[in-house]
């Protein structure tokens, strides 16, 4: 246990790196995912095809392959980015595909009868979207988007496989140095549990705040 206090700093800085990775990658995923979703439901053919292709490719490839490509293969293509930002880029691009699908299913969850009704009383397209579609779709998306945030945090653990010193990587080092596997892995587990609980609590609060009263 005393080893824990000696190496606590490294574990803590690993935890902070994990949080930073998540906080940088998630907004990227949200923005890219929203753009992809707009492309996928737009009437413009080429954009629809391109977005669909992106989502199909990314969702069927392992995250580790994407990260390894960005870290070890992209430099061959003349693109040099630091390890941290490579990981952010990979995580963001990977989660974006899931954000896109979440947004699409959120929109599909809105009752089509409501849209028909809105159009029947003469609401123009823009107001159908802003006053009816988005408010309901966004509410339906709170929970799945929270899950994606958690998955992004868990995915950042793969940084340990490509050389970023985040929580999982620091835990391995700590374990090898201290030879106290139970203490090492339980500490890391507490870190990841904290992230999970925080996000879970956040989404639940948010969901309650935006719940519709009928």
């Amino acid at each position: 246990m005393s080893a824990l206090f000696e190496h606590g700093d490294e574990l803590w800085s690993g935890f902070v790196t994990t949080i930073l990775l998540t906080l940088c990658a998630y907004p990227l995923a949200l923005v890219l995912g929203a753009v992809l979703a707009v492309c996928r439901i737009s009437p413009v053919g080429p954009l629809r095809v391109a977005a669909r292709l992106y989502v199909d490719v990314v969702r069927n490839a392992p995250l580790l392959l994407i990260l390894v490509m960005i870290v070890f293969a992209l430099p061959d293509a003349g693109l040099l980015i630091s390890l941290f930002w490579s990981l952010v880029l990979g995580l963001g691009c990977y989660s974006a595909a899931y954000v896109c699908e979440t947004i699409r299913s959120g929109i599909r969850a809105v009752d089509r009868g409501q849209v028909e009704a809105a159009r029947a009383i003469g609401l123009p397209f823009r107001r159908v979207v802003t006053d009816l579609l988005l408010p309901q779709a966004l509410r339906a998306m709170v929970q799945p988007l929270g899950t994606i945030l958690i998955n992004t945090a868990l995915g950042s653990a793969l940084g340990a496989a490509v050389g970023v010193s985040e929580l999982t990587s620091e835990t391995r080092t700590f374990n090898l140095e201290s030879a106290e596997p139970v203490a090492a892995f339980l500490t890391a587990a507490v870190g990841y549990l904290a992230i999970n609980l925080a996000v879970g609590l956040g989404t639940r609060l948010l969901e309650r705040r935006v719940r519709m009263r009928r």
Binding site: V44, P62, D76, V115, R119, A161, A184
Partner: protein, 278 residues
């Protein structure tokens, strides 16, 4: 919901605008792709000899051997994690709190951990505690711990989705609690879950790429070895990526076909077998 429902059929003006937008965006998308290819070509990454490694018999054979290991891990880990998932789901739904509470805690704990952390525990932690597993089983164990917990939640949702009328009907004809589960609820739930099981396999196949970390000769690791050996990393990883995507899309299609066959009710209501044959 259909996107077409949102606006009226396009008039001639809007159609013309849409056509312009299509052409502009096609040029845009094409331009981005062309720029990427030009950059690659500029660095000599498009040379035929570099890409030839992907059609070379020996190298291809090597990658396919990797695919075989990936599929093997996929099958074994899916089978075990599915069984573990069903047991955990039953445990969590148990009426006895001393069973359901610890099971629920274990499921939530395992779901909250990154796979790589579990894998590191199996690789570095367990040997220190005196448990030595072969590399293959270290990876399978880690995947099962993680995927089993996730599958448990899927199975639980499937069981809860079976109408309570089914349960009550079972009790009405005098079946005990366990029998209702075994003969009435589980068979229906599991049949409806077949597509989810295939989807689970896609997930496990993606996760098996962590064999790269353990050093098992699965697909991603084979790609890395091929890249190391030839020095052509981009080509090796693109080849590996294409194999993953083809296999996983094929599996996803299979899952969709299975889901369609169950019909719109999702398989909760099905005619008895005898009627089906007629």
């Amino acid at each position: 919901m259909n996107e077409e429902l949102l606006f009226d059929a396009l008039g001639p003006k809007a159609r013309a605008r849409l056509r312009t937008a299509s052409i502009v965006s096609a040029v845009g998308v094409g331009g981005v792709l062309a720029a990427m290819l030009a950059q690659l070509g500029h660095l000599g990454q498009l040379d035929a000899e570099r890409w030839a490694i992907l059609v070379d018999g020996v190298y291809l054979r090597f990658l396919l051997d990797g695919l075989w290991v990936t599929l093997l891990i996929g099958l074994v880990a899916t089978a075990i994690s599915a069984s573990v998932g069903v047991l955990l789901a039953l445990g969590r739904l148990s009426a006895r709190r001393w069973v359901s509470l610890p099971t629920a805690a274990a499921i939530e704990f395992c779901r909250a951990m990154p796979l790589l952390l579990i894998l590191f525990f199996a690789m570095f932690g367990l040997p220190m505690l005196g448990v030595r597993l072969p590399m293959f089983w270290q990876l399978v164990l880690a995947i099962v711990v993680h995927a089993g917990a996730i599958f448990a939640e899927i199975v639980r949702a499937g069981i809860l989705a079976i109408g309570r009328g089914q349960r009550e009907a079972g009790q009405a004809i005098g079946l005990r609690q366990g029998q209702v589960m075994r003969y009435v609820v589980l068979p229906q739930a599991l049949r409806a879950l077949t597509p989810a099981l295939v989807g689970q396999m896609v997930r496990v196949i993606k996760e098996s790429s962590l064999g790269y970390v353990v050093g098992i000769a699965e697909l991603l690791h084979s790609g890395q070895v091929l890249g190391d050996f030839t020095g052509y990393f981009i080509q090796a990883y693109v080849g590996v990526g294409v194999i993953y995507i083809v296999v996983n899309i094929a599996l996803s299609r299979l899952a969709e076909r299975l889901a369609e066959r169950r019909g719109p009710t999702g398989g909760t209501v099905r005619p008895p077998r005898v009627l089906e044959r007629v």
